[in-house]
């Protein structure tokens, strides 16, 4: 019955859409008087041309995988969680408290503990909006937006009044103990004789993100809970008929979502900064929305979209380093990619479907 082969839907359409987005990005670059071809070369080389570039790309991608998965879990239950930013912020606090609480002897102990801390704090920050949605019908889009602001204020307070190192000019926590240092790709790959740039921030968390993606797949498509989440997301009345408790699903889905967002902190806080700084999330929560939507709420899609956005972030940085193109250009490119792959994909799909239909009809004839 399908109008198009699956591969076309999954690969061809996004690819064409991205090309269109890049074309328009090129137009913008050209319009501000720079050479688009040099720019793209700089970006690709900067993001994938060296292990350092790859390390940064994957570092950013790790953040986006976590927040993307977070948005996607909620979305399967038809909940639009815009609060990834706040949940990841609080996750950072959780990770920090865990890392600073104990002089960790080894990362293998610190990591699971920090994961629990980050996930718990992130989940806790998602819980209140979830509870209000389930019990009071308060619109979750609004409450999660509000919780982003409240989270930022809370973190500002805690950093300044609780975690700040006395006498330091910086509003940041103390450095984590050496035992809480997560192996970077350099350290992870060295035993295999692979030489990965020593300074790139990609770390162990990337593997955790991949594990989380696999877990996400099983949760959503293979477990009863995932089945109930999806069922509730499609139809609340049917869910009630089937004996699924809507309030329970709303709360659980949001707790998982918040936990995933909170988990992001093992990457940016524990893996990279190794201390808690203000605004450590830097919009990854919002990028997560785009990543989830572009990735069609499927872990593979989310993974690919995260890599794409990691590439844009890192390639964009290189653009700013070497081409003196304003850093906001990257934001423009991101916008165009989101627009064309996410919102305007029918512009590509409809003609393509017709093409395939005509083609298959011809074959039949």
């Amino acid at each position: 019955m399908s109008k198009m082969p699956k591969w076309a839907d999954a690969v061809l359409i996004p690819l064409i859409s991205i090309l269109i987005a890049f074309f328009f990005s090129g137009v913008v670059i050209w319009a501000i008087g720079k050479d688009p071809f040099v720019a793209i070369k700089t970006m690709v080389q900067g993001a994938f041309g060296s292990t350092q570039g790859v390390g940064y790309t994957l570092y950013y991608a790790t953040n986006f995988i976590f927040t993307g998965l977070a948005v996607a879990v909620a979305y399967h239950a038809r909940l639009f969680n815009i609060g990834g930013e706040g949940q990841a912020t609080l996750g950072g606090l959780g990770v920090t408290l865990v890392c600073l609480a104990v002089p960790w002897p080894h990362w293998a102990l610190a990591l699971p503990a920090a994961m629990i801390g980050g996930a718990l704090f992130g989940a806790a920050w998602a819980f209140i909006p979830a509870w209000l949605q389930a019990k009071r019908g308060s619109h979750i889009v609004i409450t999660t937006i509000m919780f982003n602001y409240i989270g930022a204020a809370l973190l500002g307070y805690v950093l300044l009044n609780v975690l700040k190192v006395p006498g330091s000019m910086l509003t940041e926590s103390a450095r984590f103990p050496a035992g809480a240092h997560l192996p970077t790709f350099h350290e992870m790959l060295a035993p295999f004789g692979i030489n990965f740039n020593k300074n790139a921030p990609a770390n162990m968390s990337f593997l955790v993100a991949i594990l989380a993606s696999v877990a996400f797949y099983f949760l959503i498509w293979r477990t009863r809970l995932g089945y109930e989440i999806r069922a509730y997301g499609q139809s609340e009345t049917a869910a009630k008929y089937a004996g699924i408790n809507p309030a329970r699903i709303v709360i659980i889905a949001m707790l998982i979502s918040g936990a995933l967002a909170g988990l992001m902190a093992i990457n940016n806080v524990m893996g990279e900064a190794e201390r808690l700084i203000d605004n450590a999330v830097e919009g990854a929560g919002f990028i997560g929305i785009a990543v989830a939507l572009m990735g069609r709420n499927h872990p593979i899609g989310i993974f690919l979209a995260s890599i794409l956005f990691g590439f844009l972030y890192q390639g964009g940085a290189e653009l700013a380093f070497w081409e003196s193109i304003p850093r906001e250009l990257v934001v423009v490119i991101q916008a165009l990619v989101i627009m064309f792959t996410g919102a305007l994909d029918n512009m590509v799909r409809v003609p393509l479907e017709k093409l395939f239909l005509a083609f298959s009809k011809k074959k039949e004839a």
């Binding site: 209000l132 609004i142 572009m294 916008a335």
Partner: protein, 320 residues
Amino acid sequence: MDYLTIIQILDSSVRLATPLLLTCLAGLFSERAGVVDIGLEGKLLAAAFLSSAAAAVTGSIWIGLLAGIAGSLAFSMIHGLASITFKGDQLISGVALNFLAAGLTVVVGQSWFQLGGRTPSLNGAERFSPWTLPFSEALAKIPVIGPAYDELISGHTALTYLALLSVPLSWWVLYRSRFGLRLRAVGENPSAVDTAGISVVRLRYAALVIAGVLCGLAGTYLASLAAGFVKDMSAGRGYIALAALIFAKWRPWYALWATLLFGLLEAIGNRYQSIALGDIVIPVQFMQALPYILTVIILAGFVGKAIPPRASGQSYVKER
């Protein structure tokens, strides 16, 4: 707290509420027609930038206003293209537009003015000047009413009065005109509109045009108030307007009260940054988060379930 302080806080609330109100009404028209618009923030920013740029170049805020509206309209039309014509995801389109505005304003601004995305400061006729209503000098001396009239009611710019005026106007259009009936219908059940022989697409575009104009006004207001553009100067007001919209249950008069409330909360937060209650000093962070905290409390306690227009957020697809 003395009377004058209250008046001044209210005055500040009105100033802060004006862009929220215009943006909120923009969202109202768009969502009433079934198009969810989280791109309000981006439109606001785009309008602020273009109005400021045009005013700076031409020396007239009125030309700035036109440019601001044009910019906001252009964004509206992109949103329409994505979510109406190509039946794309309205949320994604909105998110993309917000990014686009945040990036383009700076990239273009830098290319035009070489001020790092800022526009030159606006002076004189490049800004709206406050309107002093008749007799405000004379009345100012009268106790109670005088200061209220002079400080609170008089002395805002044209756009504030326009914003206030657009509340009854919106109400009238929505509930008393044919266009309004159709607009509301298309947000509730587009197939009913379609089978009644009216174009769903045209109606939704019309709603987006209105939203674009209103956002254009709001953005220009911001630029004029701040006397220029700096990057990201919309500072989340588009999102707050969306919150107000839900709070207002998609109704014009409620929108006025909701945005005034948000304005009031912000004004209070501005004025009382840290409050000492006995030994406990409430930290500034708390006061600044107060509007958001109160929003949550209000949503939890008073509003209950806000039911959006039934077809909002969905593209109208006849055949798949």
